[in-house]
């Protein structure tokens, strides 16, 4: 099926849940209300015309700088019917949770843990929701846009402090020295655009 047709079918079935349908580069994304995500996914998985049996990926996006909350993106593919659709569940900023889709795709387990780890989105009904890539005592969620690129002393992971002390002794050849009359490249780069947020 064509992706747009799938999106229409989805809208017909769940008219209240579909907020928007967007298309970019021939790929269709359906923006959903988060409340019935498991039902919707279950229907997409089981409907004989659609049969979205393969969860390609699940990831979260932090849209807060754009004035929205978070989003959890499901990229779905049907191996049998060879079509693709993207679901984007809208999550408000203050209630950062979503229902787990593990009952539909077992492979969602680790994806959801990763999403929780890096973006702090809680997946309700997940059997073993804990950090996966970062250490268990890590604070904060690095893929949030407000997570500092170079942390201050306060926000830093405790274990990192010792490591830094250790590496200071080794970093005697760094770029610390500044001379007064010459502009440093690092400065210029920061202005010109490598620095990031």
């Amino acid at each position: 099926m064509e992706p747009l047709a799938i999106a229409d079918k989805l809208k017909k079935k769940f008219p209240d849940d579909v907020l928007d349908i967007v298309e970019a580069r021939k790929q269709v994304g359906v923006i959903l209300r988060r409340d019935h995500i498991v039902e919707i996914c279950g229907w997409l998985h089981d409907d004989p015309d659609l049969l979205f049996d393969h969860l390609l990926g699940l990831c979260g996006v932090d849209y807060r700088p754009k004035g929205r909350g978070f989003e959890v993106v499901y990229n779905l593919y049907s191996i049998h019917n060879r079509h693709m659709i993207r679901l984007r569940a809208d999550i408000p900023e203050d209630e950062c949770w979503l229902d787990s889709v593990i009952p539909v795709w077992r492979g969602a387990d680790w994806h959801e843990r990763e999403c929780y780890d890096l973006l702090g989105i809680e997946f309700r009904g997940h059997p073993d929701l804990r950090r996966i890539l970062l250490p268990e005592d890590w604070q904060g969620h690095p893929l949030r846009k407000d997570y500092p690129l170079s942390p201050t002393k306060k926000t830093e992971w405790q274990g990192y402090e010792e490591l830094k002390e250790l590496s200071k002794a080794l970093r005697v050849h760094g770029f610390q020295q500044e001379s007064s009359n010459s502009k440093t490249a690092q400065h210029l780069v920061k202005e010109a655009g490598n620095g990031g947020t």
Binding site: L56, V73, A108
Partner: protein, 407 residues
């Protein structure tokens, strides 16, 4: 939020685990292929519970990508699956080109197909080497490295690096193929089938090998799809899913090749699938060498390496003398808002990139769908109920690379 933090700290241990023999395998262990850690709970030598633990090689690639331009992130993709860096380069560039709507010249596409298949062969060679070594057949290890060396030399001839290739560029490839490269590659494709015969003589029908691999680590096709497996791991279970056939990229739709499928989904089937992929890859390379057309290797309109990250920073960038390129970008309006998911068939499975762009020269959010991450997530489903020695064989048959898993 506080409750959330609290929750992350405690690791649930079911009651029955306390009576079992806990064995922490890895992250420093000869057979965990890097820094994978497995918390095994043994009942005798049988695995009762298996919990993989990853993250020892986490380098925050997704965060890095948000702060680098599309071109700047390319060398970092080498470090994803460092066994088949070329395939990552091709996959990444294909994804960015889809996002930015950049055409790729015909010749570049052929060269990309060649290098992607070469990296598939070299990746599978390393898989076979380590898989055989895990099961104890150490001679296969060195025979495989003998051939891998030739491929790495070819990569060096092509792009100046053996492992971290950074070969593709947005809209093409960096360098054209040389005569030496073509000759050596042709020779390699001619010789390689006899080398495969070497490996097969040693292990293919060996009764010990069969005993260690057949009917072990079985995973049905349905289960494998449920778990999100891709690549040879999925095809070993008999599910016909190959990105090269389903959503062709480069020139795969013009080439004649077959996708090997297994029957049962045990370790031996996965082994046979990869062995057949060797032959198919050689066939693909041969066809590409045959059909390699003349023409440019890079799209002249493609963004330069120094692509500005944001339009606002244009002024600052102007002062360092790259205004012409910025003008080009703005004229052609190649920065778009929206999101795409594009995937390619890397040696390990489906390597997908999900980009969210907000019109800047860097991704607003990039998610890497790495096959190893998902395959490691499926290890418990495969291993539980098998024996300690089989865990090693199962990990080997999944062909995981931790650089890609942890990103």
């Amino acid at each position: 939020m506080a409750a959330l933090e609290q929750r992350s700290m405690e690791i649930p241990i079911p009651a029955q685990e306390k009576e079992l023999f806990a064995l922490k395998m890895g992250p420093q262990h000869p057979a965990t292929h890097g820094v994978l850690r497995l918390d095994l709970f043994l009942d005798g030598e049988t695995i009762a519970i298996c919990k993989p633990d990853v993250g020892y090689l986490h380098r925050g690639f997704e965060k890095i990508a948000e702060n680098k331009s599309y071109a700047q992130f390319l060398p970092i993709t080498d470090r994803l699956d460092y066994i088949g860096a070329m395939a990552n380069n091709v996959g990444y560039c294909h994804a960015v080109e889809t996002l930015l709507n950049i055409e790729v010249p015909e010749r570049a596409n052929y060269i990309r197909t060649i290098v992607a298949e070469m990296s598939r062969i070299s990746g599978h060679l390393l898989w076979l080497a380590t898989h055989a070594l895990d099961i104890g057949a150490m001679t296969v290890f060195l025979y495989c490295f003998r051939e891998r060396e030739i491929l790495l030399d070819l990569f060096e001839e092509l792009c100046g690096a053996r492992l971290t290739t950074s070969y593709t560029r947005l809209g093409g490839v960096r360098q054209d193929v040389s005569a030496l490269f073509m000759d050596n590659l042709t020779k390699f494709t001619d010789d390689f089938p006899t080398k495969i015969a070497d490996y097969e003589t040693l292990i293919d029908t060996n009764r010990i090998w069969l005993k260690r691999t057949q009917n072990i680590g079985v995973i049905s096709g349905k289960q494998a799809v449920q778990l999100g497996f891709t690549g040879p791991t999925l095809r070993g279970s008999g599910v016909d899913y190959d990105v090269r056939k389903h959503r062709p990229y480069c020139v795969y739709d013009r080439l004649d090749f077959q996708v090997p499928l297994g029957r049962k989904g045990d370790i031996y089937d996965r082994y046979l699938c990869r062995m057949e992929e060797f032959r198919q890859s050689v066939a693909i390379i041969k066809q590409c060498l045959e059909q390699l057309p003349p023409g440019p290797i890079v799209n002249d309109d493609a963004p330069d390496l120094i692509m500005p990250i944001t339009p606002q920073r244009k002024v600052a960038a102007d002062s360092i003398g790259s205004s012409g390129i910025i003008q080009l970008m703005e004229d052609r309006n190649i920065y778009m808002e929206g999101d795409v998911y594009v995937s390619t068939e890397a040696p390990k499975g489906e390597l997908g990139f999900y980009f969210v762009s907000d019109g800047e020269g860097r991704p607003y959010r990039m998610h890497i769908r790495s096959p190893s991450f998902i395959h490691i997530g499926g290890i418990p489903a495969i291993c539980e109920g098998e024996m300690v020695a089989d865990v090693i064989a199962c990990i080997g048959s999944l062909d995981v690379v931790l650089g890609e898993c942890d990103r």
